[in-house]
Amino acid sequence: MAAADDDDGIGSLRAILLAPEQRQLEELQVRLDDRDRRAQDIGEVLPQVLREHAHDPQLARALTPPLEEAITASVKRNPKPLADALFPVMGPAIRKAVSASLASMVESFNRTLEQAFSRRSIRWRLEAMRTGKSFAEVVMLKTLLYRVEQAFLIDRRSGLLLQHVQAGSGVVQDADMVSGMLTAIRDFVQDSFKVSEADSLEALKVGELSVWIEPGPQAIVAAVIRGSAPRDFRPTLQDAVETIHLQFGDLLERFEGDASTLEPARPTLEACLQQQYRAEERKPRTTAAWAFAGVVALILLAWGGLAWRTQARDQRYLDAVRAEPGLTVVSSERRGGKLVVTGLRDPLAKDPLAIATAAGIDAAGIEGRWTAYQALEPSLVLARATRILQPPAGVTLSLVDGVLSFAGAAPGAWIAEARRTAPLIAGVSLFDPLLAMIAIIESPNLLFHTGTPILVPGQDVEVRRLAETLRDFDARAAAASQRFAVEIVGHTDAEGADEANLPLSKARADAVRDAIAPKPFANVTISTTGVGSREPAVGTLDSPSSVRAGQNEADNQRNRRVTLRVSRLAGGPR
């Protein structure tokens, strides 16, 4: 009884003393049992936890699978929201990838070009030929710092191969057996030297190859490396071992020989397949080579410029020579720093060297090889005729279509001599003493006042000269036993009707005839005619409106005129 009383007493005492704590405990109990409440509590601290552990790799690894699941599920349900969310980043990402890939292509192209033409590359090609290796292999071996060629994931206990990855497509010995043997060797070293588990074999090295071993609790990662890997490659291996244990720890522990369960560990293993090539050393030779190339380019440029200038100058000279009558260039070339021109030269033509001087070209740089010939250009034929016939003072020679003629008062003896000699001159087919005079007779336009057959002031001088020429012409025609007809044609402007203009034009022709041939000539017949405004000197019959409208008095004045036409009556050239 006493004991029961004591218990009651203690119970009461406890109730009195610990009542508040008891209540708190109960509240806590309720809070822990209530799922909703617990969820709320966790929800409150979760963002903080995530924030504070944002850089914890374990958290990232733990979150990866559910996130992947969530994304996969979201895409399966409706891909659009994710596509919309990714859209703004996809474009730039793709552009960046494309430009990076282009840049790398250009880089590799440059490298290939460099490799293809350097002295070193020739040496390597020779080595490839000598050793029977491919060129690519030699280049790789020479420029390679290190390359992780294979990576093994090995079950630590049994030495069985869990996964194996390799770089490239080289031939690899049976990975299963290599895996076992590696483990055996590792054990052998450990057993032989009685080292502790922590100091197990880390690396094997044979010539160019080394094997780096990174053990984990359940599995080992072994990397076969060609060349010498830097020390900081070790953390890569350690990271791989840690990651694999974190992700596949359970699988590794329960491993019963089915390696396919560890297929998902391959990407981690593949990340160990790193490589690094020797950076291209910048050779000072390159600078020298560029400088040399620059100098060569400058010299070529200067030489080209000089050659171009010389050629342009030569061309200018040759063009000038070709334009000159009596000079014919057959060929030209540069020889011994001189322009050698071969061709034909009329003795009366200009001196080719004088042409050079006139064109501002140094004549000393030109050598002419000219063969004399008789040029048929009219100016030279005329010069030749002048030289041979030596016309007396006041007599000028003219040449039209190979017919030589003259104007001016010449003694009969000279005319007779010229008639005999002229056809023998190269370029002259005929000597016609009258031809030049016909041209003179046909040349003037005698102008009239409006509506009258009265010449404008000043025309009387012209009329007197014409009358004299006509008289002379008649005398020469007689001497040559030839007859001519001279038709005097009157014209009017377009003002007024034909009925008025035709008689007016005829009256103008008659007036001129009266002035120049008051008496008939022996060998020249004079006739007159009026054509009105039908043969205007200015304007056409189709569009005489502006003329008729009298807008241009100067044109009208030129149309109010009388002209002369000469025709040969008894054969002979005309």
Binding site: S158, G180, D187, D191, D258, A259
Partner: protein, 164 residues
């Protein structure tokens, strides 16, 4: 594809290496045996349509079973225990090796191979001794490395025992 680590255990010159030489693929030379103390070969076989790859650890045979390193036995799923039928002493070594194996990796399947069947007339292990082993529950196969008799059978038996 299932992989299993298998050890070949047995005393000196019992014929382990010759026994498997014709039945396995190998890339390593025999000199590994005397240097590293182990040589690894591969034997692929199919049991009831299931592919099994056996990684055979041929462990250098010495009559002193103590020289066998526990590390070499670790992770094995079964083993072949080889005895030279013409030398009774090798059976004793085998017994010690079996004890050591059980000690190291626990009770895993094994097959006892009584080798050199081609020299049957010189055998020191007689019928009673043979049956005694069978009575003890050991799986025993008589083999000849020379003729190949019993070898495939032994591998097949072990594979089945391991997969059971």
């Amino acid at each position: 594809m299932i992989q299993k680590k298998i050890c070949m255990l047995g005393g000196f010159a019992v014929g382990k290496t010759s026994l498997v030489a014709r039945y396995v693929s190998s890339i390593f030379s025999d000199k590994y045996l005397s240097t590293v103390g182990v040589k690894i070969d591969k034997k692929q076989l199919s049991v009831d349509g299931k592919d099994v790859t056996m990684m055979l650890w041929d462990i250098y045979g010495q009559d002193d079973f103590q020289t066998v390193q526990p590390s070499q036995l670790r992770g094995m799923s079964g083993y072949l225990l080889v005895v030279d039928g013409t030398r009774r002493a090798t059976l004793e070594t085998a017994r010690q090796l079996q004890a050591k194996a059980t000690d190291t990796v626990g009770p895993v399947p094994f097959i006892l191979l009584l080798n050199k069947l081609d020299l049957a007339e010189q055998w020191e292990i007689d019928e009673p001794a043979f049956f005694k082993l069978v009575e003890e529950g050991w799986r025993v196969v008589r083999t000849s490395a020379k003729t190949g008799e019993g070898v495939e059978e032994a591998f097949d038996l072990l594979a089945r025992a391991m997969l059971r």
